[in-house]
Symmetry: C2
Subunit: 568 residues, 2 copies
């Protein structure tokens, strides 16, 4: 492509309503143009990125045995009423009436339509399993669209749906999709993690999210750098230290701790590490009585985990200060297990502690040298805290680190939620009619574009991974109109690279070097060649990778071969 024949439109300043880096850079680089809140034009430069993402997704889905089809954007309400989603979904489901006053929706996903197709076409176990997908425009009428295309209203998604004779076969395909997604994000050139996830509103049981790792990500992820373990921090198992509990070595001693109401104040007052303290959290039991939860002082209660404890009210309710005072005879900040007759649970980590500091159930009093079993009965241990960096990884491989991520893919085991509601059945090998098991697998195609930028940028602009760069290489001739030697060398190199299948753009706009460089660094083309008269006199041209701070000189003779080797 020659720049003069392409559509370039860069901006010096991002529009003021662009909040995050990827949004600002996409607007400035002329990748997208806003049409309405959460609705964007994909300009030629941005569309090239989208098409490359789509091509990789399509190739890997096909390789995995999925088959592409295309379902309508406008869908009749009847199907959505069969599953109840027409009424249950909020205003983000765009509903409208056609000219004959019949109800329709603009698809946010296509579970209903695909299930309708399969229930019509598939009658026998011999026709299963099936995995069908589309890459299609979706619409969700978000109340407050933001972050550019990261949380827009109109977007492109790859959505796949699989149908099975059994849960076992669903699990096999789920694993197949898990591996396929891993290949896709690897090929896209992105750092990512598959994260064990809550299932959210879409329904089903097993579920993983695929996150692109980026400091600006919305979600915190606990992962092991030494394995492929990763989970949302809220869901990650918090493993107890492997070391056995030391024997008690200190006496239980009551200490006056005036004003020490928080763990931080207590540790400061006693001049000890917070990890030597145990904090007491009181929640409501199912019977309305207080339940005492013990955690190491520096740890955080995980409310989802705690709500699952036997006898604890779910969703979790914290006890009021009044009820705490009544049950413990002291205010929050000075309470503890010694003398408490109600239900107690301790976090697994507490189970490995000895000689700790704990509230004495008297205001401004704590015990030091407290020990399980010796000073109070050893409570039941459970995982009730958030995982933190440094915890052992639950899979036994290495220790956890915490990072932030942007969700770009999601795989679900839907099971029979849709197939049951819509009567999507087959005749099994035994001649009996059964409801199909279903899985669904989404990838946010347009969202990946934003996430890739959040992961790859610097102060000059975007830094695209090679696989999804709008152009892999740009040739910048210095003095296009002035120097025939520059023009000829640049054109010859461009033609060689192009015929070798490299996605190269020749900047023949005759702009000043500063303008050219700024444009291509902003746009984020990963490889740049500069050709000028001065270099050519010495038989040289310059190459610079987008992440490199300095250019390398290459002999002009045989430059195409050298560059091709470099791009491999």
């Amino acid at each position: 492509m020659r720049a003069s024949q392409f559509y370039l439109s860069t901006l010096k300043e991002a529009p003021t309503d662009a909040e995050i880096v990827s949004h600002k850079l996409m607007m400035r680089a002329g990748m997208i143009k806003k049409l309405s809140a959460g609705i964007y034009n994909y300009m030629p430069m941005g569309l090239r990125v989208i098409r490359k993402i789509e091509a990789i997704v399509r190739e890997e889905m096909n390789r995995a045995g999925a088959v592409e089809l295309s379902m309508p954007i406008v869908q009749p309400a009847e199907l959505w009423q069969e599953t109840g989603r027409f009424d249950k979904m909020g205003d983000e489901l765009l509903r409208f009436k056609d000219r004959h006053e019949r109800d329709f929706v603009v698809q946010p996903t296509s579970e209903e339509v695909i299930t309708d197709i399969v229930r019509q076409d598939v009658r026998s176990y011999r026709q299963l399993p099936r995995n069908l997908y589309q890459i299609q425009t979706k619409f969700r009428d978000e109340r407050r669209p933001r972050f550019g295309i990261m949380r827009g209203r109109e977007f492109t998604m790859k959505d796949a749906y699989s149908f099975h004779v059994s849960f076992e076969d669903l699990q096999r395909e789920y694993r197949n999709m898990y591996d396929t997604y891993s290949r896709i994000f690897t090929r896209l050139g992105l750092q990512f993690r598959a994260v064990a996830a809550d299932t959210g509103a879409i329904g089903g049981i097993g579920s993983h999210e695929f996150h692109v790792i980026a400091e600006t990500g919305e979600d915190a992820i606990a992962y092991s750098p030494d394995s492929n373990f990763a989970a949302n921090v809220e869901l990650a198992e918090a493993v107890a230290p492997a070391s056995p509990r030391p024997a008690p070595s200190a006496e239980l001693t009551k200490v006056h701790t005036p004003g020490a109401k928080t763990i931080e104040q207590l540790a400061t007052f006693l001049k000890i590490d917070a990890r030597l303290t145990v904090k007491s959290v009181i929640v409501e039991g199912e019977d309305g009585k207080p339940v005492l939860l013990l955690l190491r002082g520096d740890h955080e209660l995980n409310e989802i985990k705690a709500a699952k404890l036997p006898g604890v009210f779910s969703p979790l309710r914290f006890a009021t200060p009044a009820s705490i005072r009544e049950a413990f005879g002291a205010d929050p900040g000075s309470i503890g297990p010694i003398g408490f007759k109600g239900q107690i649970y301790m976090d697994r980590t507490v189970a490995s502690m000895a000689d700790f500091v704990i509230g004495a159930n008297e205001n401004d009093q704590h015990y030091t040298g407290a020990n399980l079993g010796r000073d109070f009965p050893e409570p039941e241990a459970a995982d009730i805290r958030n995982a933190v960096a440094g915890d052992a990884s639950p899979d036994g491989k290495g220790v956890l680190a915490i990072c932030r991520g942007i969700e770009v893919g999601h795989i679900f085991q839907l099971r029979k939620r849709y197939s049951e509601a819509m009567g999507c059945k087959f005749i099994g090998e035994d001649g009996k009619e059964q409801v199909m098991e279903m899985g669904c697998y989404g990838i946010g195609v347009t969202r990946i574009m934003g996430a890739a930028i959040e992961q790859n940028f610097d102060e000059r602009g975007i830094i695209w991974p090679d696989a999804i760069a709008p152009f892999r290489m740009v040739i910048c001739p210095m003095g296009w109109s002035r120097s025939e030697a520059v023009r000829d060398t640049a054109t010859a190199l461009y033609e060689s690279l192009k015929s070798a299948g490299i996605d190269v753009i020749l900047d023949d706009r005759d702009e000043r070097p500063g303008v050219m460089f700024a444009d291509w660094e902003l746009i984020g083309v990963p490889h740049r060649v500069v050709i000028g008269d001065r270099g050519l006199k010495e038989g040289q041209i310059e190459y610079q990778g987008r992440r490199q701070s300095e250019a390398t000189r290459l002999p002009a003779e045989g430059a195409a071969e050298a560059l091709l080797a470099l791009l491999k």
Copy 2:
């Protein structure tokens, strides 16, 4: 692709609401599946055809210098209000309100959005010309969707829009697009005609429709088999015979013609050819007085042409029987020019006639041997009739034939209709602000699929052109599970053809030959190879083209090379 891994779903019977051949065959072949009136799922087999059409359209648009982008399906009403189309367009424009009660439309085309983009980005003549296109889902809420995807509500269109500094430059690009469209339809493997067209509702001046030729087409087209002339029959110029008018050779004779009110009755009564008669049609003039139009007896008045005659009321109004009686003293069926004092026009063909039969302005009386100039003043000649087969082609090359066509493409010179209304301006070389000239160029991607079938089918099913066939070749092994020799030969041939880049499908479903053949003939794969034990014993396999009535035997040894040569 192996058939067992693909999604095949053929039907013995077409659904009863399928009206035309292409709709029936697409439903039966499992190419599409109805979701709602005029809204279809593109099943895997059909989507392959769509993707091939899109790829050819995209390649040729890029080659022509157009640049691809993608505009949203959901568009804000504000832009549509700028051009007045939000109010002017009928119910086929799907309008809705979002959750914040703001007006939106689902795009049927994108003139407003593209003009909005260009008015933001383009400021100088140096940035022009531009031709931008998208291949995108469109929605038109047709009152009565029919003919399957030929007149559906949701469909895919390639829409391109060009912007220019001058009308001359628009005309250059219009010619470029005309040539590009011709290349596209040629590559698609379709018989087509570019047809000079009325501009219709979209506005503008110059306009051509591209029609796929098919007996079932909605439009009648006059064309010359000896040139590229083609026009809608209503718009085609009707050329006068080249031969000069013979000298009068008969006397003007009044003949009693009882009951001969139509030309047919008159010709039968007089035992002459209708081409020797002249008929009189009376229309209203702008002044309310009758205007007499003379046509050869077998010709049809063209109302569009006649309404453009000086002094004739437009749109055309026929005179009432009463006013005819008053002006001519006779009833329609017996009237003529002799003695009539008002305005008379004759068709150009009448101008070359002598010794003709014409009404005598007395009931049941006609003249034979009438002659122009001698028996009444020679009226002004004009083109006021429909062209018919056998007319000389207006471009001087050959004679016209009439065929029927399905419109699949349309190119327009929009001029300044949208750019003026939306203030899409540039600074010219002279420093002055000017409004851009615009063109627009559409191709009905999904419609082409239907039109291709209307042009290419037989009683067994579809016959795809190679370029857009879902698969180019199918390998049918006889006894897949029974014969290892068949399985090995079929698999080896499949792998060879696949690695040579042929889009081949191996039917490994282990179906009976009759089922296999019926499926692939219905689906319309253009090339078929049959491999069976009997043939293999003689070292032979069978090849049959979809249009051939018999198979050819090929040596199994080297079959891949032979087939590759044949496919070239």
